[in-house]
Point group: C2
Chain length 397, copies 2
């Protein structure tokens, strides 16, 4: 007697989470130190010391009633202003508090935006391979997911396929930059091309088509690459952000969304988002966490730490004959399965105590995701297991 | 181009919030000390000192990675077990961690439950007057709200009307005990009667009809009354709870839901709820807050503080000729408007700098809600303004 939708959700339930649980079970069996769990994007670096002291200071110094009480559903005005000014300094945007809503992580932000935009039957386009939860989020609001194919050489968008998928019902295009699960970064020219296509299609269909740019990995960029700030290239862009990765606090559920002044019907959109934050049941982002992140806006995750991991695992695995696009951001690698059925490959890897996630989860069968947000030592220790796996499949460099 | 639903939501947007904002504007104009703002249920007592020291201790002592990292979507197992044992001690229930899911407040819990239960078109019954957000929550999942009339003498349920409203599409009955906005408490015999009616109707329609018992005010009970624990009277009961009022932390968004072992399809329901917590975008309740409330489960709000307010305002206002049911719980009073159009009464009260919320917001026109979770001194100072308001309407005791 539970809903038909949730029955379906249970049967499709997150493979990432279940691999994480299988990894924990295997660890209980043979010891944690003998399992090489690359399944979950759970940061391996602690929160910056400034974050911890910000929390302590706030609790010691602030008045309990104002610290833990209700505020505007959009968040504390001074926190929103601090986020706006920080973005302006870093990306030359033109934000003030009225452009920012504090949210329960990026997942909360995306649901608030979809609640605001989507009527049943509206379509959201995603670029495969894509973060599997996007399908569930659009399902919450009875919208339809439309998947576009990547260029399989580069895992950059296939523009022809993208253009062909835009239709009268298209309402939102979801961009995740850097991309989970491939680690690919969309360049300025890629974003410009997407913006040009969408601008034409907006005219053709005579209605707005929005971008949601989901950027929880914005600061995790290697080789001095820059990530374009999409609302500067396309007005109808929502940016969603989470501090989960940059401050290593994924359990705390704190993030924000940013909307440029140039968005169509700006005032209506902001009213809708603020009310949606309440109606979705978030009410507001957790108050103590809002105040803490406002004091840590220039802190970032230890990029060097992840880069060291990236270089080691990319170098070693490609050296063994595994094939993958070199990641430029986030902490994921998307490896081509040596056999067509990547689920069999994931099962075989598990026999060597390596936990990976199958690409079907990201609408991209034939590949597996490896999350290298783990300790360097675990990667080092895992290499002999990977070597056995390569031998099993007769790979060679 | 925002959704049709959110356009409707904007136009119906929370009168409670807008009265709160009008109160703040008036305070800016004539000084905060001259405005008697009874609009919002924002607790006026600080969080218990034990809560503040729990937060500090946890931040100082716990490892950052496990404190701020991902955990099971249902919450930390040890926190859920602590909540279960606390409920067992206080209410002789039979819970363990498997019965508890930590949530982003009660609002989060209710949305997670509705996501799990509701297919579009399913009906949720509420007892008027009811907390206005329930309409928005069922709207998120495309269900229908069905409102039953109260007994206007007592503001207890009108059982005949309730029974007549249960139909083939009925899926959920929402109970809020103590009731916001009336402060009424449903007794054991009331709950028994509701349970009997629902059990018969379950048989008649041959499907489950669930109760959601929303109990954020469970500890705020006066005159040594007890609140029945509904799942002991009716198996298909979800209990939702928030620490907002009991710990005075409404901005922190921390609560839980409890499900008895006797619920139909218990395992499926718990799987659905856990996945819904993720898919709705909550992912999990904020991690630091989970750990903090687990150390404060026996703390409650300062009931004496609110009781003192209750006695003063009830005694004085009825003495002036205002009419209302004596509240037995929560921190609200539901006053009969001296004129049929209570919105005019609210406007007149505002001229005397008294901020109230119209009863239409709670589907009960002709009444106004007064929230007395303010300082005792504000109530004392407000009495001369209430006297002028009584004179304006020619009331007499």
């Amino acid at each position: 007697m539970i809903s038909r939708q949730i029955l379906e959700d249970i049967s499709n339930s997150s493979t990432i989470r279940s691999m994480f649980i299988e990894g924990k079970e295997l660890a209980n069996e043979i010891g944690e130190e003998n399992v090489y769990d690359f399944s979950l994007g759970n940061p391996a670096t602690p929160a910056p010391i400034n974050f911890t002291s910000a929390l302590s200071d706030i609790i010691r110094e602030e008045d309990s009633l104002s610290l833990h009480g209700y505020m505007d559903n959009a968040g504390y005005p001074e926190v929103r202003e601090a986020v706006a000014q920080n973005l302006n300094r870093r990306f030359h945007t033109d934000f003030s508090k009225k452009n920012i809503i504090m949210t329960v992580g990026a997942a909360g932000a995306i649901n608030v935006i979809l609640k605001t935009l989507i009527d049943p039957g509206d379509e959201m386009i995603v670029f495969a391979p894509y973060f599997t939860e996007y399908r569930n989020y659009i399902g919450n609001w009875r919208g339809q997911l439309v998947v576009t194919e990547p260029d399989y050489q580069t895992f950059q968008p296939n523009f022809a396929d993208f253009e062909s998928k835009i239709a009268a019902k298209s309402k939102v295009v979801m961009i995740n930059n850097p991309v989970n699960p491939t680690g690919v970064v969309y360049s300025k020219s890629t974003i410009r091309r997407i913006a040009t296509i969408l601008s034409q299609k907006q005219k053709e269909y005579d209605h707005e088509i929005y971008i949601i740019s989901d950027e929880p990995y914005r600061e995790l960029i290697y080789d001095r690459k820059n990530i374009p700030f999409i609302s500067k290239y396309y007005n109808n862009t929502f940016m969603t952000y989470s501090f989960s990765k940059s401050l290593s606090v994924p359990g705390e559920r704190i993030g924000y969304l940013a909307v440029p002044n140039e968005m169509a019907d700006f005032e209506w959109v902001m009213s809708g988002l603020t009310i949606a934050n309440r109606i979705c049941g978030f009410i507001n982002a957790p108050s103590l966490l809002q105040k803490a992140v406002a004091l840590c806006l220039d802190e970032t995750a230890d990029v060097e730490f992840y880069d060291r991991n990236r270089k080691l695992i990319y170098h070693e695995l490609t050296g063994m004959g595994f094939s993958c696009v070199k990641p430029e951001g986030a902490f994921y690698m998307f490896i081509k399965s040596p056999v067509a059925d990547e689920k069999a490959f994931v099962e075989t890897a598990k026999q060597f105590h390596i936990i990976l996630v199958n690409g079907s989860t990201f609408a991209c069968p034939g590949y597996v995701r490896l999350a290298y947000c783990c300790s360097y030592e675990m990667i080092q220790k895992s290499l002999s297991a990977f070597r056995k796996l390569a031998q099993y499949y007769h790979l060679s460099a």
